[in-house]
Symmetry: C2
DNA sequence: CCCTTCATAGAACGGTCGTGCTTTTCGTGC
DNA sequence: GCACGAAAAGCACGACCGTTCTATGAAGGG
């Protein structure tokens, strides 16, 4: 691997961590360079623009996310165990020490939702993939007979993610020590409802 | 009313609308002044600092929120109707034309969750009040016999808000046309579960 | 009608932003 | 070991940031 490729990767790692705290907008090239002990222009040379940096940060975060949350869950048994693993994995991801500011995608979602452009497009695609992943896991749980046949798996994925967003809000903004317990209780209710057929 | 008081109020109205789009961080004094046809320093004189402006924007938004969401719901019948009114009111609030960028509190939550200071404190207090309001409505629904006696009303409030956050994400970031239908379905499931005792 | 008080404008500050251009340093294949 | 190309630094730019100071204009009470 080229020397440049290595620094490029190092920059992105630090950038992801930093962006989770200050956001993609707040992530400044000067600040990032200082954190890494690089010069501003030296760092800038790796990306042609700040937008490109933001896009690559999102892509790098997606790679880490896949490795830390999705892939481990795919190693679990098909059906409900995998669905639960995805949920647990996300909770761990959100409070992980690697992301001092919590899930970077949630932070980015708020600041990009009205800012059209490549960064927003990249984020939306990633979130779509993630929701599809959740829905697919639920679909398998239906096929395995763990969840009821008539379950709306997209709705389940949507609701599951809503619980995660609620956790993020309670934990990171409100600093609610019960946040995780609340999230687990909400998710358990979701799973229970998915199991038993609607009366 | 003093002349200054009037402009002060006008500034805050525009600031709230602008901040819902670009965030509290992105809300610049120069940009806000230009939008209003004022000079930067003339506007600045109304607030001793940018932080103070942010705090007052949050407070002004809270007043509007109370008038548009909370107060109308308090006019509804005690119990489940009022709980539903709070939910409906929030959905309307979030997609209201007044807030082109969606609920300003959700946007602020993401950018302030790791930024200690007066603005964060103000936001957290407002969110606490809002969650208390939701919980209190649920508590009344229990007292009225609409919800089961053993219902954990704080958990219900938490779950209800999570559905709202899920709606915001689906609607504003993902531009999902089904966002509202999904949110209503999720909320109905929550209400149904709150009615029938846990087996 | 004057005089004080208040509201706004104007100009300027130090700082940081993203972004180019030019130079120097350094890793690497021959 | 040298030369070539990549990588990083240095420097400068225009723009915008929050903030301060000073001056000007309008409002309002006597």
């Amino acid at each position: 691997m080229r020397k440049g490729e290595l620094t490029h990767q190092t920059i992105l790692e630090t950038a992801v961590r930093l962006a989770s705290r200050v956001g993609l907008q707040g992530l400044s090239i000067g600040g990032l360079a200082e954190e890494l002990g690089l010069s501003k222009s030296g760092l800038f040379a790796h990306f042609k623009s700040k937008t490109e940096l933001q896009v690559q940060v999102l892509e790098a975060a997606t790679v880490v996310f896949t490795g830390r949350v999705v892939r481990p869950a795919l190693g679990r048994a098909r059906g409900e165990p995998r669905v639960r693993a995805l949920f647990d994995g996300w909770l761990t991801w959100d409070r992980d020490s690697l992301l001092e500011g919590g899930c970077i995608f949630v932070a980015a979602a708020a600041e990009l939702d009205d800012a059209p452009g490549p960064a927003r497009d990249t984020l939306v695609q990633g979130q779509r993939d993630w929701l599809d992943c959740l829905a697919q896991a639920a679909r398998i749980a239906v096929a395995e007979g763990h969840f009821q046949k008539a379950l709306d798996v997209e709705q389940f994925a949507h609701d599951q993610y809503a619980v995660m967003l609620g956790f993020h809000h309670a934990k990171r903004l409100m600093r609610d020590p019960q946040a995780e317990a609340r999230a687990r209780r909400a998710f358990d209710a979701l799973v229970t409802a998915a199991r038993t057929p609607t009366s």
